[in-house]
Amino acid sequence: MSKIHVTTKVNGDDVEFLADPRESLLDCLRDKLDLTGAKEGCGTGDCGACSVSLDGTLVCSCLVLGVEAQGKTIETVEGMAQDGDLHPLQRKFIEHAALQCGFCTPGILVAAKNLLERNPDPTETEIRYWLAGNLCRCTGYDKIVRAVQDAAAEMRGAA
């Protein structure tokens, strides 16, 4: 099958790749751009480990075709730290022990960042429902929710 040339912007960098029309954006990020931060936990849109932001919208990159990224702006976990400084969510996840195996962490960080951009002061329930599409099998979510709450508080304080 012939491949399609795609140009897109990932974490601020212009990139291009050749995609088979059947390949997901997740496959293209991981296999063609070597951005292995986003993970495949299911490939069916159920686990959120592949979460990225596509033109500001939170998506499961396993449900987006690579060719759909043409001309779009993508942000992944690799782009969260700015100039060597961790995003407050990243710091708070470490501080609160909000990860055990860490496999869900990239997706949850991207999803939580997207939440805080819309709602800087979410309630516990709002956090839980926003993250309901991000499965974590290790933590029971308690420390994840606390880390998001704490990061949100810090970011509000800094604003």
Binding site: G41, G43, A97, L99, G102, R128, L131, R137, T139, K143
Partner: protein, 748 residues
């Protein structure tokens, strides 16, 4: 170590520093199984049986091999013959022989230049099947008229006349159960049933394997145990273990499911056939659910006799468990001793049958066997406590096992913390929180043995005075942090001056996997001994420098010090100082220790849960959840709490939602996370934890291990809470909304 020799005040142990791998894991840099790639690498796909039980009449790969870019196909004919025991099980599971034994059983594998091409090629491999009768349910498999799926596999333990799918039988006990029941004021007997669940780690199995015609190979793989992968792959392929070098990746969860192999030998076999090109093999989620893990399903009879005051006079259990189509895989040997472990049982009898069914080869899942056994026994204890009008914690305190109790499975317990967990649960505000309509509270305790096992650890002093520790146990939930804390404590140096590495099979002697809650426990002990060896050498170097006897030097506060006034007056010589000149004072300084770790400290916990059941829909909401568990010593309390919370969440999923659902055709119907629904963030409340510390006398820092017990109490605790909320007792898991609703309706 006697109790009074255990240290109780620490500089590092019990603190909560950042984990050493935290930065890699929040930035996406940490490399998991599927994140590895090699130059010139091929990609593989697996052909799997669509039938629960079928004879394989023919495999024709010619169309696949005719595709450009397809480099190799392997079938069972490519594997050696003559294996036996568990090696044969592993080989039979890697690739079906004459018969496919479950839906999803691997039949062939193909390697090609891209993942898409490999998938296309797999579809072109034609397999001709003759469908055979199958059996799925554990009780169906136990029937005398069930199709016998693998005749001739029963071992010597199986009593004559047992049904044809029975492969193993265990029986033990003590006391006189008949006399015990005769003494009781209340005797109850019930049957409980649990369905299989999957470990549900979010990272699917993934590996890159490379092997040449000479049988030398390498593998990068997500696993709980690289030496197990090495030994098992070598056995399945008929190669030598030491010729295979296995490097573990970061691991995205395991919970026991990654202590064995499933598809790893296929990558190596394909590589060997494709001229030694590396082959990457990554499972899809549905492959994970269909063909790896899961845990056993169980059908369990329990009988208990109780006095009016709650004292248990006798108990018996008779379990039937299936662990798939492979003998030896059901956890009957663990479930039975766990069943009554929380109780001082004067009279007790256990028996269990393992039966085969057309399901995937079961793997360990967090305290294997214990959650099912607890569901049965703890549920009945609760039913009887209620019937007698007794507080469920008081009944457990009346009968609770403590130091000196002869355990239900024989040996005497040394210091254990069950009673302490019960007392802490009773005193916790959750236990007194008011309940509204349709709400109920449940309590249950749980047990796991914990495990030590084969352990090999090295410590090496760096020229700058930092310390590197090499361990063989993949870090699933923060074990590098806990080992670094114990190392800092032992040497008297800063936590940040320690680096703990999980190393490949070429770097240490054999290590068992991260299983049995052993990583912090066993590595802590081996590190302690290895550090002691290094410290003796450090003292020797200082002594030589000072011109005094090595025995006149002791190690304190991270430095060599003259031991007492007779040793002479010298300022302390720090680790950094000695390390800086070690090249000219005798060479590198390191320590090493190998042990088959004993000193295991049993683990007990008690959970309290409040639920609300919607009478319209049967949906159960967890309102409050409390985990109290004895850690022995919590090295890094945040990760101890994490184990408690994670175990509870898995138990909640098992109790309420998760189960393997099969069609009449014997095919698994819920093969994606949408249908195999594990708890999501909005399903759960915060999970409260209390860490009890009754130090384990068998460990230098009192560690017991904390990984497993937490999944055990949720099953019965939630069943009891649902019973309290609704007045109906569910004796079969999961307590899904339709089942609860039907039970409520039947109650009227």
């Amino acid at each position: 170590m006697p109790k009074d020799e255990l240290k109780t005040s620490f500089k590092w142990i019990g603190t909560r520093p950042d984990r050493p791998d935290g930065l890699d894991k929040v930035t996406g840099r940490a490399r998991y199984g599927a994140d590895f790639s090699l130059p010139n690498m091929l990609h593989a796909a697996v052909v799997r049986s669509p039938h629960a039980h079928a004879r394989i009449k023919k495999i024709d790969a010619s169309k696949a091999l005719a595709l450009d870019g397809v480099k190799a196909v392997v079938t069972r004919a490519d594997l050696p013959t003559g294996l036996s025991g568990e090696d044969l099980n592993l080989q039979d599971n890697t690739l079906a022989g004459d018969v496919a034994l479950y839906d999803g059983h691997a039949v062939a594998a193909v390697a090609a230049t891209s993942a898409l091409l490999a998938k296309d090629a797999a579809k072109l491999i034609e397999v001709e099947y003759e469908v055979l009768p199958h059996v799925i349910d554990v009780d169906d498999a136990f029937r005398a008229d069930a199709p016998v799926i693998r005749p001739g596999l029963a071992d010597h333990s199986v009593p004559k006349g047992a049904p044809g799918n029975v492969t193993r039988y265990i029986e033990f006990g003590h006391g006189d159960v008949a006399a015990g029941f005769a003494e009781a004021d209340l005797v109850r007997e019930e049957t409980y049933k649990t369905e299989a669940t999957h470990q549900g780690y979010i990272e699917p199995h993934a590996c890159v394997g490379q092997m040449g015609a000479d049988g030398k190979g390498e593998m990068w793989v997500c696993t709980q145990g690289q030496w197990y992968v090495r030994r098992m792959c070598a056995a399945v392929l008929g190669t030598e273990a030491s010729q295979l070098r296995v490097t573990p990746s970061e691991i995205g969860g395991g919970f026991g499911g990654k202590t064995t192999i499933f598809m790893e030998p296929l990558a190596l076999a394909l590589s060997r056939k494709a001229g030694g090109r590396p082959v990457k093999l990554v499972m899809s989620r549905s492959e994970v659910l269909r063909a790896t893990g899961p845990t056993a399903s169980a059908s369990m009879d329990v009988k208990i006799g109780m006095k009016k005051d709650g004292r248990i006079t006798a108990g018996t259990v008779s379990f039937r468990m299936q662990g798939g189509a492979f003998p030896g895989m059901s956890p009957i040997g663990e479930a039975l001793p766990c069943a009554f472990a929380c109780y001082d049982m004067p009279n007790v009898h256990h028996e269990a049958y393992e039966v085969l069914a057309n399901r995937p080869k079961a793997a360990a899942y967090r305290a294997p066997g214990s959650p099912m056994a607890a569901f049965a026994v703890e549920s009945l204890v609760d039913e009887m406590s209620r019937e007698l009008g007794l507080d469920p914690i008081d009944v457990r305190l009346t009968n609770g096992a403590k130091e000196g109790t002869k355990s239900s499975y024989g040996p005497k317990f040394n210091q254990i913390g069950l009673v302490e967990t019960l007392e802490a649960a009773k005193a916790h505000p959750n236990y007194a929180a008011p309940l509204g309509p349709n709400q109920g509270r449940g309590v249950a305790s749980g047990f796991w043995f914990n495990h030590g096992g084969e352990t090999s650890v090295s410590v090496a002093i760096g020229e700058d005075g930092t310390v590197q520790v090499s361990v063989g146990t993949p870090d699933i939930g923060g074990s590098r942090a806990s080992i670094a804390l114990m190392t800092a404590e032992t040497f008297g140096i800063d936590y940040d001056d320690v680096r703990v590495n999980v190393v490949e099979t070429g770097a240490l002697g054999v290590n068992e996997p991260t299983h049995g809650s052993r990583a912090t426990h066993s590595n802590g002990k081996a590190m302690y001994e290895a550090a002691g060896q290094a410290i003796r050498e450090l003292c020797k170097r200082a002594a030589a420098d000072w011109g005094i006897d090595a025995e006149a030097v002791e190690w304190a506060d991270g430095a060599a010090q003259p031991a007492g006034p007779n040793a002479g007056k010298f300022p302390p010589m720090s680790l950094r100082e000695i390390a800086g000149k070690m090249g000219s004072t005798g060479g590198p300084i390191s320590g090493h220790h190998e042990i088959t770790m004993g000193g295991v400290g049993a683990s007990f916990g008690t959970h309290v849960v409040d639920v609300e059941v919607d009478p319209e829909t049967g949906r159960t909401t967890i309102l409050r959840y409390l985990v109290v568990q004895d850690a022995g010593r919590a090295i890094h309390p945040a990760y101890v709490e994490g184990q408690y919370q994670g175990g509870a969440a898995q138990g909640i999923g098992w109790a309420l939602n998760e189960s393997y659902i099969y069609g009449k055709d014997g095919r698994l119907q819920n093969t994606v996370f949408l249908d195999y629904r594990i708890p999501v963030a909005s399903d759960l409340p915060m999970i409260d934890t209390v860490i009890v510390e009754v130090p384990n006398p068998g460990h230098p820092y009192g560690v017991r291990g904390v990984g497993e017990t937490g999944i055990t109490p949720p099953l019965p605790a939630i069943a009891s809470a649902v019973a309290a909320a609704t007045g109906v007792r569910l004796r079969e898991l999961p307590m899904s909304p339709p089942k609860v609703l039907a039970a409520i309706k039947a109650r009227g």
